[in-house]
Structure formats: C-alpha cells, structure tokens
C-alpha cells in the first residue's frame, strides 16, 4: 500500500452523464437497488432570452459523478462513535462493518451524501475505492468502466500536477469542509461552487 493519498480525477468536459460508472460500481459491489456508492448528479440551468428579434439559448447541463471522496479530513471518521471508519495510510477511508453500530451519525457529516445505509444488515456502507482491485494493481471499477475515459485515479499530488487543483464545482459544497481527495477538469459550462444559477436536475435519482 502506498503512503500517498489516493484520489479520483473527473473530467467534467468529457463526461456524458451515461452512469456507466454508477452501474459498474453497483455490479462490482453487488449493491441493492437504492444503495448507491457512486451517483451521477446532473446540474442544469439557463433560459431562453430575447435579443432583438431573436431568442437566444443560455440553457446548459453537465454531470458530476460523486462517490466517497476519501477526504483528507474525513468528518465521518471523526464522528463515528465506535471508531469503525478508518483512514488508511494511502488515504482510502474504509468502514469496518463488524464495528459499525448503525447509528447513522456519519451520514449527517458527509458533504457528499456518500454514506449509504444498508437496511438489510443495519450497517453503513460506502465506496471503498475498490481496495481489493488496488491491491491487485487494477483500476477501480468506475474508472475502468467509463466509455468517455473521463475518470482517472492515483495519488492526489500526481493528479494535481497533471490536471490542476479544482476540487469543487456547483452543486458541490465547500471543499474546505473536509478537503476531498478529488480533482475536477472543468466543463465549458460548469459553474463555480456556490453558484445559484442552476439546480440539480435529477434529485429523485441521487
């Protein structure tokens, strides 16, 4: 295991919003309907505005795929009363199921809604960065599945050198809350964090 913080890279401009990553994740982890370790949030906005005799469209939409972002300051791990959420040396945040008491306190602290409660087992679950695949030197299922090659993963420092340090766009919250291990490549239409110009277009899906 490396001792560098592992992270995801998401190229928002390349993402088509197809949700292959979400489905590959569900398949790999055998998740029930409703338990989504990775969700694709659609941010939509704009309007038609009149300019002289013409109507001009400012309509836009882009997708942001979100899972547990294995935050550098994981608020879930701090909140967990039974210390069942641990951060490994490589930054991957894992839930040790046998210690989880199912109190769901972590759920209130996650800025990304990444914690998914399993009613069957009474335990909290979430993305484990495909820790077993990492061990075998394989890509995480979501990264490997992306038909647009919009995802990458690796040590956070390396991803930042390669892609920059954008850690949030609308509708994601302030990254200073938890310092998520993620780098985004901007979409031509992506709005800055905190923008109120659009809204989540697929609330019932995520």
């Amino acid at each position: 295991m490396s001792d560098q913080q592992m992270a995801f890279y998401i190229d928002l401009a390349a993402c088509s919003g197809c949700k292959a990553c979400q489905i590959a994740c569900k398949d790999k982890n055998d998740l029930d309907v409703g338990n989504m370790w990775r969700r694709v949030v659609e941010y939509v906005g704009g309007d038609w505005t009149r300019s002289g005799d013409a109507w001009v469209s400012t309509v836009y939409a882009y997708s942001v795929t979100v899972s547990c972002l294995h935050c550098q300051d994981a608020p879930c791990a701090e909140a967990c009363p039974s210390a069942a959420i641990v951060k490994r040396d490589d930054g991957v945040v894992l839930i040790e199921a046998d210690r989880c008491i199912g109190c769901r306190y972590c759920e209130w602290t996650c800025p990304y809604g990444a914690l998914q409660f399993d009613d069957e087992t009474g335990k909290m679950t979430k993305c484990d960065f495909c820790a077993d695949y990492l061990e075998e030197g394989k890509e995480p299922a979501c990264v490997a599945s992306c038909p647009m090659r919009a995802m990458d993963y690796g040590p956070l420092d390396e991803l930042r050198d390669r892609y920059g340090d954008l850690a949030a766009v609308a509708p994601l919250p302030d990254p200073s809350i938890s310092r998520p291990a993620v780098v985004f490549g901007p979409h031509p239409d992506s709005r800055a964090r905190g923008s109120a110009s659009g809204r989540i277009g697929n609330l019932e899906e995520v």
């Binding site: 949030v41 979100v66 039974s82 210690r99 008491i101 800025p111 809604g113 009474g122 335990k123 919250p173």
Partner: protein, 307 residues
C-alpha cells in the same frame, strides 16, 4: 420520518428531562430546607429522585431503536477521543451511575449530609455535561439549522422546563400518597407543596418565555442565513411544518403560562387537591407534548448542505 427519528426524539427528551429533574430537585431541596423541616422536604423530594432512574433508563432503551446494529451498542465508547456521540454516551452513563449512587445514599440516608451533597453536585455536573455533549453532536457545519447557539440553549431549557413540571407532578403524587398514610402531618406538608409548586410554575413561566423567544429567533436567524440550506430550513418550519410549529408554540404557552397562572392562584386559594393535581398534570402534559413536537421539528425541518 421513520422509527429511527422517533427513538432519537424519545431519547433526547427523556435524557434531558432526567437531568432537569435532578438539577431542579437539588435547587428545590436547598431552598425548601431553609423554611421547612428537612424530614418534611425529603418526604416529597426523595420519591421524585427515585423516579428519575426509570425515566433515564427508558430513554437509553429508546436510543437503541435508532441503531441499525444495537448488539454493537457497547462499542459506542470507542471514539471518546474524537466523537461527540461517544462523549454523550460517556457522560450519560456517568450521570446515570453517579445519580443512582446518590439516590441510594439519599434514600437509605447513608453517609453524612455533606458527603451526599458532594455526590449530588458531581452527578449534577455530569448531567450538565450530558446535555451539553448531546447538543454538540448536532453542531455540524453541514447542518445550518443545528449549528447555532440555539441548539445547546433549547436543550438546556427543555431539560429545566420539562424537569420543573415533572417535579410538580411527582410532588402532587407524593403528597397524595402521604395523605393516605395514617398519622402524617398534612398541613405542614401541604404548605410545603404549595410553596414548591409556586416556585416551580414561576420557573416554568420564565423558561417557556426563553424557549418561545429562542424558537422565534431561530427562524429569523435561519431566514437570514448565508446558505440555501439555512433558508430552506426556516421555510420548512413556517411552511410545510407550519401547523406543527404553531401547535408547538401554543401548547408551550398554554401549558406553562396559562396553566402555570392557574396553579399559582389555586395554591394561594388552597383549591381542592384534585383540581391542583389536574392542573399540574395538565401543565406537564401540554409542555411535554410541545417539547416532543419541537424535537420532531428539530429533526424533520433541518435541511443539510449536501447533495
């Protein structure tokens, strides 16, 4: 709003009420022994003290209902170093243990008065820590409706308000029991009961005033909040949950202020026992329902900053 949240509502209210009863009982005892013989005072206070235990235990049992894996509940102390939830359980357990020790000493009159007083003060401090850590659990940056001074203040006021009126009920019940016993001096006990009830309802009126002002300010502060989650929480309180919110405020006012006024007058006019008992029970019942509704809103109308 599932069963999950109801167990938290029951746990937080009963936990806070237990602490409130313990604290106010201490104050009542301290004031009452100046004007009444200590044996008389303890004929009323000791039984109220013993009632705290079952209430607190009931609260802890209810709290198990919000765990997906209640068999693992014993692990909840593992993260005392970082988690406010662990700390809450720690202080709750210590309050229960010290409170039970005090109740035993006091009931059996073991040890000197000074020793018992020290144990009671330690238990009171642990009880306050229990309520404060319970509030700190909710002071989360992602929950603007909770992350305000309002949370600890309302938790403390809920403790004292429900505590004061619960003691009223316990005293009335204790008095009724004592009256049935042969040879007891009813007149002295009645004067003590009336003195105590007047003090308790005065406290309840002040506390309900603080509660109503706090709850109203909460909506104002949230409406002016920087995040849309804060504004949405305020809108939920006055919009979707407007009826429950209005009912909560009305019941608190009627229970503490109007019933309080009637109790105060009755104790001066020495109205019938039955009437006073009904009024005290009514005041407690109305305020308890109001506080349960308030706690329901606390959970149901909090809009988090998340996606």
């Amino acid at each position: 709003m599932g069963l999950h949240d109801w167990s938290l509502i029951i746990f937080t209210i009963l936990g806070q009420m237990s602490v409130g009863v313990f604290l106010i009982l201490g104050i009542v005892h301290t004031i009452a022994v100046r004007r009444h013989p200590i044996e008389e005072v303890e004929r009323l206070t000791d039984r109220a003290l013993l009632a705290i235990g079952p209430v607190l235990v009931l609260g802890f049992i209810a709290s198990l209902g919000h765990l997906g894996s209640p068999v693992n509940a014993y692990l909840s102390l593992l993260n005392v170093a970082e988690s406010w939830l662990s700390r809450e359980i720690l202080f709750g357990t210590l309050f229960a243990a010290t409170g039970a020790l005090f109740a035993l000493l006091q009931w059996r009159k073991i040890g000197s008065f000074a020793l018992r007083r020290v144990v009671a003060l330690v238990a009171a401090a642990l009880g306050i820590a229990f309520v404060v850590t319970m509030a700190l659990i909710y002071m989360l940056p992602l929950q603007p409706a909770w992350n305000l001074w309002v949370t600890p203040l309302t938790f403390i006021v809920t403790s004292l308000l429900t505590g004061a009126l619960a003691i009223g009920v316990a005293f009335v019940a204790s008095y009724a029991y004592e009256r049935k016993r042969e040879g007891a001096d009813h007149a002295a006990l009645a004067s003590l009961l009336y003195d105590s009830l007047r003090g308790l309802v005065l406290a309840a009126v002040v506390l309900v005033g603080v509660q109503l002002v706090t709850v109203s300010l909460h909506v104002t502060v949230l409406s002016a909040g920087e995040t849309s989650a804060a504004v949405d929480s305020a809108a939920a309180l006055t919009g979707d949950f407007g009826v429950v919110f209005g009912l909560r405020l009305t019941l608190a006012f009627v229970g503490a202020a109007i019933f309080g006024f009637l109790i105060y007058r009755s104790t001066i006019w020495a109205t019938s026992q039955r009437t006073i008992g009904t009024l005290v029970g009514g005041a407690f019942g109305l305020v308890l329902v109001s506080e349960v509704l308030g706690r329901y809103l606390f959970y149901a109308a909090s809009v988090p900053i998340t996606i």
